[in-house]
């Protein structure tokens, strides 16, 4: 399990440049599905034919990141965010740029030397160790994309790494495809590995239009409420995958939510219920496409979302794979 997750985490894939992630996915699943192709928007769509309603399962391939906006006269890089970058967790981070160059994020510290008072995008920069502008320009350009430098910590059943959002969702879908008893599937299945989720659930929107599914389930991370003095959230790592009730963008279709819960109970899979006040998933885009799609989601509880140390529990991941497999196979 760990190897493939690590491979996915280490793949470079900020919103709009997900090629490396898609390549890994393709290699893992192309023998297991009937059709695989990329649509106009770059979404990777895998089709396992079946009779019955069209079910679209989505996990997004992109992660949050940065984009270089300026190279100053001394070779420092100015940048802007791609997706919901958390500014408080940016300074002091290492960044990996698309051509392999790495750098360190710091800030204009004249007004607040030693400790950061107010992290603002206009005041941060990346040092890639270039000695001057000319040297920097040999290494990067305006428009070069970057992500948090991938790393991977594994202890017990926990993994700490950037981009768990949503490489873990991608992993779940890959494993569902691999472990599915395809002949028992009660749906015509479309596994969509979407692009540009972090900048507006865009891939999901156009992909849903193209496929026109009857049902949609997104697999993504959600917040957990099990760290010291944290914001109340009734989800804990290790208590199982979360069945989405509601999030900042949608209320999950009762039919899907109820069916997932029923499946979990029948198959004795531990599960939790998710009510999230802020944030949403590809399911939100699916729900409001054309004349509407019944949509829901299965979420992996995660700590420190959108930082370089997103933390999940592999038992929840195994539970999610099993839950979706059994939901499809009934």
């Amino acid at each position: 399990m760990e190897d493939l997750i690590k491979k996915l985490v280490f793949a470079f894939g900020p919103s709009s440049k997900e090629e490396a992630v898609k390549k890994i996915i393709r290699a893992e699943i192309e023998q297991e599905v009937d059709e695989i192709s990329e649509d106009k928007f770059g979404n990777l769509v895998a089709h396992i034919k079946g009779s019955g309603e069209k079910l679209m399962l989505a996990a997004h391939t992109d992660s949050i990141g940065i984009i270089v906006t300026d190279i100053d006269k001394n070779g420092f890089l100015r940048f802007s965010e791609i997706g919901g970058l958390r500014k408080s967790f940016l300074i002091g981070q290492k960044i990996l740029l698309e051509n392999g160059i790495e750098g360190y994020v710091f800030y204009e510290d004249k007004e607040s030397p030693w400790e950061v008072k107010e992290p603002k995008m206009e005041k941060v920069f990346i040092d890639i160790g270039a000695t001057n502008k000319a040297r920097a320009k040999e290494m990067v350009q305006i428009g070069t994309l970057g992500v948090y430098l991938p790393n991977f910590i594994r202890n017990d059943s926990r993994i700490i790494a950037p981009s768990m959002d949503d490489r873990i969702g991608v992993y779940v879908l890959i494993e569902v495809i691999k472990n599915l008893k395809k002949r028992k599937s009660r749906f015509d299945l479309f596994f969509v590995f979407t692009t540009q989720e972090e900048v507006g659930v865009k891939g999901a929107k156009v992909s849903t239009f193209e496929i026109t599914p009857d049902l949609g389930i997104a697999v993504d991370v959600t917040f957990s409420g099990d760290t010291p003095e944290c914001k109340p959230m009734a989800l804990s790592l290790g208590n199982g995958p979360a069945v989405k009730v509601m999030d900042g963008g949608m209320i999950a279709s009762k039919e899907i939510k109820d069916e997932l819960i029923k499946t979990a109970k029948q198959e004795k899979i531990s599960y939790q219920l998710e009510v999230l006040t802020g944030g949403t998933t590809d399911a939100y885009a699916m729900q409001l496409t054309k004349s509407g799609v019944m949509s829901g989601a299965v979420s992996i509880p995660a700590r420190y979302v959108h930082t370089s140390g997103e933390t999940i529990d592999t038992n929840d991941v195994a539970g999610a794979i099993n839950l979706l497999k059994k939901y499809i196979e009934k």
Partner: protein
């Protein structure tokens, strides 16, 4: 050579978000001899079709017709007009400006309590638009109501003018410059279908574009805009957004969209081959119609190219004709290279 007359007419035209008639009619008259089909969709977007029977990718050229402005909300007992803003307008650019109001094109001035009557602490603050009013010199509420009733749109009273050689000032360069470029490009011949989408209500939420590409959906869309050039004193280099004289501004990412990487690389390589200067938009700010076109149906690949202009969203903007020419040339050469 740029059609300066067209730019002038478009710049001077009255078209605040929600009432783009004058601009739409002007464009229609300008392009009708060069396209096979023209129609206005249900929300007011102007769509023109050229060469639809040709093979090849369908290319869309998009520009919004509306400008930011004001709308009269209330007329007081003395005949002064109170208003709201339509689109993004900084309150600081309003006081003391000449405006044109409503169907009857009545002239007026934006006023406030005279400075010598203000409290001392009031003098240092920007006067909020709520405390400003338009004075059309009317003697009574009745008179004002007859000339410009509630709901009348208001534009800045600015005439297009050459400031000095090749440098022009006027209003609504965001986005009459874009409209002018699209219209000029329609006079040329291309080897594939071209759909021109002139949208409405961009400034208040990209509304026209939300539905505009549905009827005739392209494969590729280029949005033409007039964008911020903040290359002024005391602005840090990395916050200047773009610079006058440095050529068309190509957007990589703004608040609403990431443009297609491959197409954009193709465009910049065309620019380099033909020695057309260009620059990238250096601050991730603003939103464009491209973000809505991008998500139409099963998706569209989009690009955004803009003429840099100073002081957009204010009574008087400034641009260099060389930037306009290079923007038009870049888009033309890029399309031809498809």
């Amino acid at each position: 050579m740029a059609n300066i007359e067209l730019i002038e007419k478009l710049s001077n035209a009255f078209g605040v978000s929600g009432d783009e008639r004058e601009v739409r009619n002007l464009i229609r008259e300008t392009i009708k001899g060069y396209v096979e089909g023209i129609f206005v969709d249900k929300i007011g977007n102007l769509v023109a079709l050229k060469g639809m029977e040709k093979p090849g990718p369908k290319i869309m050229l998009n520009a919004h017709m509306d400008e930011v402005g004001l709308i009269v909300t209330k007329i007081d007992e003395k005949g002064f007009l109170f208003f709201k803003k339509i689109g993004g307008l900084d309150d600081r650019v309003l006081l003391g400006k000449r405006v044109i109001v409503g169907e009857k094109r009545v002239k007026g001035i934006i006023g406030a309590k005279a400075i010598h009557l203000q409290q001392k602490d009031e003098r240092n603050k920007t006067i909020e638009y709520k405390n400003l009013f338009i004075d059309i010199g009317a003697k009574s509420k009745d008179e004002s109501e007859k000339l410009c009733p509630s709901g009348s749109y208001v534009v800045f009273d600015t005439q297009f003018e050459e400031l000095s050689m090749g440098k022009y000032i006027g209003k609504s360069f965001d986005n009459r410059l874009g409209c002018a470029i699209v219209s000029e490009l329609l006079t040329e011949e291309f080897n594939f279908p071209v759909i021109a989408l002139y949208t409405v209500q961009e400034e208040i939420g990209l509304r026209g574009a939300s539905v505009g590409a549905y009827n005739y959906t392209p494969d590729i869309s280029v949005t033409l805009e007039g964008t911020i050039s903040a290359d002024m004193p005391e602005i840090k280099d990395h916050l200047k957004v773009s610079r006058l004289g440095a050529g068309p501004v190509i957007t990589i990412k703004d608040r609403s969209v990431i443009t297609d990487h491959q197409l954009r690389e193709k465009m910049t390589s065309v620019a380099r081959k033909q020695n057309i200067p260009f620059q990238f938009k250096q601050v991730v700010a603003g939103g464009t119609d491209s973000s809505k076109i991008q998500l139409t149906k099963s998706g569209v690949k989009v690009l955004v190219v803009a003429v840099p202009a100073r002081y957009i969203h204010s009574p008087v903007s400034l641009f260099y004709m060389e930037d306009y020419e290079n923007t038009k040339k870049l888009v033309r050469e890029f399309i031809k290279s498809m």
